[in-house]
């Protein structure tokens, strides 16, 4: 009897200690990682045999393509194993990144927004030694555009552009003839086309009512349009924070908002503008229910595989005034939104080297480029691409890039993380007539003032 009691007590004790051990396992692994840094000599031999990398991905819609790539790389380099840390589309991505970092367990490689990398720059590896190599691989200016505060912390691998997308068939049916995109140079030109399309019984434009679209992409242009230089745009934001800017007197802001009033008036979702169903808005545009769409080439991920869609799409700059010469009227917004960066807080030198090799393979090998361009449908700012894109829209954006007709929206990398949510909400209020132009300017200015001195 006594023996039994003792036995059961012993079992319970092992269970509890087992639990404790299980919890501390994760810790000891990362501690080991730290120690490795200290005594490299003894560790290199083992590490050259097997390296395990983790990859934190915020491009959630292409998780599976990355996993395929990891497998392929592992087949070619059996000593390197890469594990994906996925995040859900549009949810809790930053939270997860922060918790990994805070628990001392960061991923070796991250695919993050440039702005996030800047905020955590002390935790990432300085890639200065690699810079020359990548400058040779990429399009002119691509690396410059990816520099954060002058530092090369992340490798650009994808490029995105946005503006007024158009559905060629829908526009031509609307205006009753061939459509020459070069004919739209000013806001009045655009309004004339909208009027014709509306008279033909079609909806002229789709205005997606989500806060990210209105706050980051639309209102965000205010900061990028101030000047062609990111530096000057950053200065403008600083002035906003210090309360030195009256937006209602800023020509870029008023121009943008005048165009916004136009889009609002001819909006296909006029009756209920805030529903903001991304899939439905994209599909309706792709099928010709609306002729224009304020969105970017990333919407190809939805449109490309759609049944019964139209074939011909293009992009127009968003005109913000009636002077064709004004900056922005002939340019489309363009950026390298995501960068690959390598952890420098807990990763071993072996892991970092393996990570560098893997990233280079991803962006320069045929397998890697095919996966990014063909399977993900993204465009790459690299030279001599070994795969051809089926993304009609990003090809249209590339035409603008080639001619240098782009708005560099790099200033957004330096904005606080919540700017799009907060100012996007103000834009939504304006969209449904909850506040007027004055009220909008006030709310946006108040938001920036709350960041004064930060």
């Amino acid at each position: 009897m006594k023996l039994r009691k003792a036995a059961s007590f012993a079992i319970a004790l092992t269970v509890v200690t087992g639990l404790l051990a299980g919890c501390s396992k994760g810790n000891s692994a990362t501690n080991a990682g730290k120690e490795d840094k200290g005594n490299e000599g003894t560790q290199t031999e083992q590490a050259s045999k097997d390296v395990k990398l983790t990859f934190f991905n915020t491009s959630a819609e292409v998780n599976t393509v990355f996993e395929e790539l990891f497998k392929k790389y592992h087949e070619q380099n059996p000593q390197v194993t890469i594990e994906l840390i996925p995040t859900p589309i549009g949810g809790a991505q930053l939270e997860k990144f922060q918790s990994l970092l805070a628990s001392g367990n960061p991923a070796t490689i991250v695919n993050l927004d440039a702005g996030t990398i800047l905020q955590y720059k002390d935790d990432f590896l300085d890639l200065e030694p690699e810079k020359a190599k990548y400058e040779a691989l990429t399009n002119p200016g691509a690396i410059d555009g990816a520099l954060l505060d002058g530092q090369f912390l992340g490798i650009p691998w994808t490029a995105q552009g946005y503006g007024l997308l158009y559905n060629k068939r829908a526009v031509e049916e609307g205006i009753g003839g061939a459509f020459d995109p070069a004919s739209v140079k000013t806001r009045d030109d655009l309004e004339a086309i909208f009027k014709k399309i509306e008279a033909s019984g079609k909806a002229p434009v789709m205005l997606h009512g989500a806060d990210w679209s209105l706050g980051a992409h639309y209102l965000g242009l205010t900061y990028s349009l101030q000047s062609q230089k990111v530096e000057d745009n950053r200065k403008f934001v600083e002035e906003l924070k210090n309360g030195q800017v009256q937006l209602t007197e800023n020509p870029q802001f008023t121009g943008l908002m005048d165009t916004f009033d136009l889009l609002k008036k001819y909006n296909a979702r006029k009756s209920d503008p805030l529903v903001a169903d991304y899939n439905r808005d994209s599909a309706d545009f792709a099928k010709g229910a609306a002729a224009f769409y304020f969105m970017g080439d990333w919407s190809w991920a939805v449109i490309g595989t759609l049944e019964g869609r139209d074939a011909d799409f293009g992009i127009l700059p968003l005109p913000i005034s009636n002077n064709p010469e004004d900056f922005g009227n002939a340019q489309v917004a363009y950026s390298e939104p995501k960068l690959f960066a390598i952890d420098d807080s807990k990763s071993t030198p072996e892991q970092q080297e393996a990570a560098k090799a893997f990233i280079e393979w991803m962006v320069s090998s045929e397998d890697g480029q095919k996966a990014i361009i063909t399977d993900m449908g993204l465009s790459m700012p690299y030279k001599d691409l070994k795969a051809k894109s089926t993304n009609v829209m990003s090809n249209a954006v590339s035409e603008y890039v080639k001619q240098g007709k782009i708005i560099n929206i790099g200033v957004i990398n330096y904005l606080p993380q919540d700017y799009w949510a907060k100012t996007g909400a103000a834009m939504q209020k304006y969209l449904v007539g909850n506040i007027d132009r004055q009220g909008l300017a006030q709310e946006v200015q108040d938001y920036w003032k709350s960041y004064a001195g930060k």
Binding site: L94, L274, Q417, Q428, V432
Partner: protein, 293 residues
């Protein structure tokens, strides 16, 4: 002898209580204490450093007008959710304890939403509110459903309540059913012999005798609706223009989007205090109404 016995008791306690105490400490008590500590620091995951700054974060909470608005919004939301969910659950439970046919199936049906995760449920109702109902509204000319309920502050508030209550009703119903089966049959029979009608049986016999169940149900629905996050995220994302952000949603945004961890955590502590005070007061007051049959 006595010493041996107490040692034995401690051992037995450790065997049965140990694992759950360990788990509870690991995921509730320790994080709570660490969280409390965090509210007195300016900790930031980006820089990793933290120093004690006293009550600054708490002062910031009461200066955060948006949070106070959101807290008031949450209180209204909780009030209506608790009332609606409990009234419905009570009467559904009443209807499903009369011994009619197919009762088991109906009970299962009402309980099912509770098994669906909040995110899935949120998206489900989102489709209903922003696609299905406006479609029907346009087709049959119902003024109420012409536009999505989720794009207007007033209606989005009710949409949130409906979705949460719908999820809660099944769970509360089960508790009420258990409560009703505890009402002795002889009392009910005596009442009907004395000529009591259905309404007075409910009012004077069933209601007082199920007070324990009511206390539990209100407690559960209070705490669960105060801590609603997933439905809020999936259904309205705090929109339109952040007007339907519940307190929990605001806290997460504050900490992880605006990077104000200390303030966010302090707001969480304030929310905890509010929930604790309300939940404890209501169970204390309602407990007094309990009677013996």
């Amino acid at each position: 002898m006595n010493k041996k016995l107490s040692l034995k008791n401690a051992g037995t306690f450790l065997v049965f209580g140990g694992p759950s105490i360990f788990a509870f400490a690991a995921v509730v008590i320790i994080p709570f204490i660490v969280g409390l500590y965090l509210t007195f620091t300016n900790w930031d995951v980006r820089t990793g450093d933290s120093s004690l700054i006293g009550f600054t974060n708490y002062l910031e909470v009461f200066r955060d007008k948006v949070f106070l608005q959101q807290l008031w919004f949450t209180l209204k939301y909780v009030f209506f959710t608790v009332v609606i969910a409990n009234v419905f659950a009570f009467f559904i439970a009443l209807a499903l304890t009369r011994g009619g046919r197919g009762e088991q199936w109906l009970r299962t049906g009402f309980f099912t939403p509770n098994l669906v995760g909040g995110i899935v449920l949120g998206y489900l109702w989102q489709t209903l509110f922003s696609q299905v109902l406006p479609y029907l509204g346009a087709k049959y000319g119902w003024e109420l459903f012409q536009t999505s309920w989720l794009t207007n502050t007033g209606t989005a508030f009710w949409a949130l309540i409906i979705a949460t209550a719908w999820q809660l009703v099944g769970y509360l119903m089960i508790i009420y059913i258990a409560g009703f089966t505890g009402v002795p049959n002889d009392v009910l029979e005596a009442a009907s012999i004395d000529g009591a009608g259905r309404t007075s049986v409910i009012r004077r016999i069933i209601l007082p005798l199920t007070v324990p169940a009511i206390v539990i149900c209100i407690f559960i629905s209070l705490s669960r609706s105060f801590l609603t996050y997933d439905i809020n995220l999936a259904l309205t994302k705090g929109g339109p223009f952040n007007s339907t952000e519940l307190a929990t949603y605001h806290i997460v945004q504050k900490a992880f989007l605006s990077n104000q961890y200390g303030v966010g955590q302090a707001e969480a502590v304030v929310l905890f205090a509010v929930v604790a005070i309300i939940a404890l007061t209501q169970s204390y007051l309602l407990k007094k109404l309990e009677v013996e049959s």
